[in-house]
């Protein structure tokens, strides 16, 4: 760990934690796409992360919330929209890659500083 107080690292950790939970929720929604009466869930953490970044309180525990989606349910009471889940899955993966690249960029800068 670089430093617990490093804002960039904390923000990336927070985002990766939220994105991983979002991946799991999408996997659960798709697994239950045909389960009668099942209501899909969605994960949000961006607003909390943004306000933490704005106020500079990055030392608190990352806040990630899970809530049921409000899509209307189909004939069997299931409200999962498979197409939306597939798109969200791709977007979540790309965000994860972006976070990992950001972290690696940060690590490269530190490595350069150590070498010089």
């Amino acid at each position: 760990m670089i430093s617990n107080n490093d804002i960039t690292t904390r923000a990336i950790e927070w985002a990766l934690g939220g994105l991983e939970q979002r991946s799991q929720t999408i996997a659960d929604n798709v697994a239950n796409a045909e389960t009668p009466g099942f209501r899909g869930s969605e994960v949000s953490f961006e607003n909390e992360l943004r306000s933490a970044l704005q106020t500079g309180h990055m030392d608190r525990t990352p806040s990630v919330s899970v809530a049921h989606t409000t899509n209307p349910a189909g004939a069997n009471g299931n409200n999962v929209r498979l197409e939306d889940e597939m798109v969200d899955m791709i977007a979540t993966n790309l965000s994860k890659s972006a976070m990992i690249q950001s972290f690696n960029y940060k690590a490269d800068i530190l490595r350069a500083a150590i070498r010089s």
């Binding site: 239950n32 045909e34 899955m89 791709i90 994860k96």
Partner: protein, 134 residues
């Protein structure tokens, strides 16, 4: 559960899709099955699935609760020459809703494919995570 949780969850969904497809195949294979008139007719197998609740509000996938059999009365046709016919010449056929089974087959296949997509995508994401710090 492993640390690659999305994979485990998608696997439960793919497992349901495969079981469901197996049941549909069995039902369609038996759509013309005739049993002796005084015996129970063939009844279509129906998969009962339910969501699994997980910790922290995130679900843990889906599980197969039980395999049920279709209820309803068996359709009868008049075939007096049939060896399984009753005294009155009625033959009891299986309880299979063929149109419903064909629709279920598409649903099961789509469900299986969607979960395989999640498995593929999760694997790529976890592989990317292996690059942290490289």
């Amino acid at each position: 559960m492993s640390s690659f949780h999305s994979l485990d969850i998608a696997a439960t969904g793919a497992d349901l899709g495969r079981t469901w497809l197996d049941a549909v195949a069995h039902n369609i294979a038996n759509v013309n099955t005739v049993r002796p008139y005084d015996e129970e007719p063939f009844r279509a197998k129906l998969v009962h699935a339910a969501a699994v609740d997980g910790p922290g509000g995130t679900g843990d996938g889906v599980r197969i609760v039980e395999i049920l059999e279709a209820d309803g009365t068996a359709p009868e046709v008049y075939e007096p020459d049939h060896p399984f016919a009753s005294q009155e010449g009625a033959v009891k056929r299986g309880v299979v809703d063929l149109v419903g089974q064909m629709a279920d087959m598409i649903g099961a296949q789509r469900h299986y494919q969607a979960n395989l997509s999640v498995i593929r995508s999760s694997r790529e994401a976890y592989e990317a995570a292996m690059q942290i710090g490289r």
